[in-house]
Amino acid sequence: MKINSLADLESVKSKALAASAAMEKTVIVCGGTGCLSYGSAELASALERKIKDRKLNAKVMLKMSGCHGFCERGPIVVIEPDKIYYQRVGRRDKEKAAEELVETTLVQGKVVESFLYSDPVTKERMIDYYKIPFYAKQKRIALRNSGHINPADIDDYIATGGYAALVKALAMKPEAVIEEIKKSNLRGRGGGGYPTGRKWESTRKAEGPVKYIICNGDEGDPGAFMDRSIMEGDPHTVLEGMVIAAYAIAKGKAPAHGFIYVRHEYPLAVKNLTKAIEQAREHGLLGKNILNSGFDFDLRINRGGGAFVCGESSALMRSLEGRVGEPRAKYVHATEKGLWDQPTNLNNVETYACLPEIIVKGADWFASIGTKGSKGTKVFSLVGKVNNTGLVEVPMGIPLREIVFDIGGGIRKGKKFKAVQTGGPSGGVIPDSMIDLPVDFDELTRVGSMMGSGGLIVMDEEDCMVDVAYYFVKFLEEESCGKCVPCREGLRRMRQIFDRITTGNGNPDDMVMLEELCTAMKLGSLCGLGQTAANPVMSTINYFRSEYEAHIKDKKCPAGVCKALIAYMIDPESCTGCQLCVKNCPSGAIKGVKKKPHTIDKEICIKCGVCYDVCKFDSVKRK
């Protein structure tokens, strides 16, 4: 059915709402990548069968949603309207879990205790979705629908108010839409933080026979997956944001075309977006004469080729042209000469996802959230050594402590918090002494890191900061496109220095050389990849200098990570003699009899770490 007006949209919305109101309960099974890997698809089909067996079809609606964010607790099932939050449902036995859920909750109306979330500290079991600390402190704008709606059903999106922003925007003048976005102070969520409204204005002003609107879904930062979740869980919000952008930017007779550049590693995102595009076209929300307004805009999906540098806007455009993804100098603005040298607007997935809410609720509402320089919210992927890992969306300016300790539930296994790494390979580490830092664009840059796309990787006392810097240098060396010398050669030299330091062959001059290389790369590199490549190195040197010195002078890795500098040993006090490590050791280096402390023969040990992984009593030590 084509939607031609606000009235049409309202009628689809009320029909969808009436259909769900006719149901007593809605069972929402998470179908995000995390939960799927725990078998949520099988769980959903088991539930479907049981619901049918118990003849509950007329009363219970079952749907698969996108990501809830709390991936570690998967599979997640939510029962509405009761807001019951079930986690780790049927990890072992899907049939049994489905049976229990249907019988206890859907038939008898009681909660299944064993599926409830229990607080890692207080052990208290919680029922209500929104009271769980992981969710309680979040404020969701970009993720507002993820986990609640079925991404494969446009009606579900419309029922939550979807496409109302598009109707509103198309009734405004394009200039007024741009003004509204400028007033909201929305800054690009992809990493750079450039004001979105200003970018739109420049692209609108630029003359050209055609204008391009690109969505950057090439989320390359390792340790970050917010864009994946949005594309998978709420694809229509991305499309709606893009159509609004296209409308604001198009001028006169110049047509506008759109591209969504999705990372190769995200097949589910491609699938859900493809479906969403088809539905939007059928409903007259994409294509010719959108909403009967006379405005035309269509878009297509391009899959990336697995090159990190293509997350950089000019490299991404070269890739869309079917070429090698090499960036070009930034004095040529993409807003004037971008894709095929035409005016091009490129925003990130999360930026587009924020737009519909800004249009509906107004710029003032959005600008009332956050800090002076950074408005609204930001999605972070909270991962690493925290108890609660997953996706969180928080207001800008929230203290880092609240993210790590309140939402994240503190450090795993009671270890000591050491640092947080933000901004991926372009960012830096923030030490524990700065745990009260308010998190926004400017503060993160001030302490030598950056917002980046929103990876927030928590590290504990067992993480070596030299190894972290080494990791990013190796990553970037491999991903550098090789076009400019400072980046290509600088990274190679840095990697060689780290090769030495981490194997106990470092010398005191190495740190001076690292700092010099950092400066040279910052000044001389062509694109953001090279210019910011120094951040992980500089920030670890600044905040953890003694750790570098320990590697270089004492030939020791205090955190017990760098393989060449450590030895594995077994603590005789805590070893129970369970033989698990003996059985698993691939080189036969562990000796010992049952119920007596075991020992590792250093001559035979290949330092593979299997014993460390299998030991249930934390008795294997690295020193």
């Binding site: 890997s37 709390f70 990336g304 691939p586 770490g609 299997v610």
Partner: protein, 158 residues
């Protein structure tokens, strides 16, 4: 093992993208989806039909990580080495796969069953460390589980 290339199929792929060199990357993705790698005769055909130099084809084929010029195994093991996985022991997982399979990263076992590769991030960081075998995602892998994963796929063959 080198695949036998059906040039008709390659022509169809080229046609489906309107023989426009701007779509060189998606064309190559479609070809690779068929053969698991980019066979040389298919690349020659691309060059011929799109009327572009072979250097441009090979430049793209070697720049992007997803493309392979060598045939891959039946099961492609991707060990995620993203930051979250790295901290939770991904290097130990990759080492274990190398040891158990007797191949290096980007190598293929002699029986053509497994290809081992590493990937920058699969975006399943909350489940770190993550390993993907073809389309299956395995979360919270530890080095002692590596052998079991390999055995499970090896047994499927029979």
């Amino acid at each position: 093992m080198q695949a036998k290339v059906n040039l008709k199929l390659v022509d169809e792929v080229i046609k489906s993208w309107g023989a426009d060199p701007a779509f060189l990357i998606p064309m190559m993705q479609d070809i690779q989806a068929q053969y698991n790698y980019l066979p040389r005769p298919a690349l020659n055909r691309l060059q011929e039909k799109l009327n572009i130099p072979l250097t441009r084809v090979s430049e793209v084929a070697t720049f992007y990580k997803t493309f392979s010029l060598k045939p891959k195994g039946k099961y492609i093991i991707q060990v995620c080495t993203g930051t979250a996985c790295h901290l939770r022991g991904a290097p130990r997982i990759a080492d274990s796969f190398m040891r158990e399979l007797g191949i290096e990263v980007n190598g293929t076992t002699k029986n053509g069953l497994f290809t081992l590769s590493t990937v920058n991030c699969l975006g399943a960081c909350a489940l770190a460390p993550v390993v993907k075998v073809n389309e299956d995602v395995h979360g919270q892998v530890s080095s002692d589980k590596v052998k079991k994963i390999i055995e499970a796929y090896a047994a499927r063959k029979k």
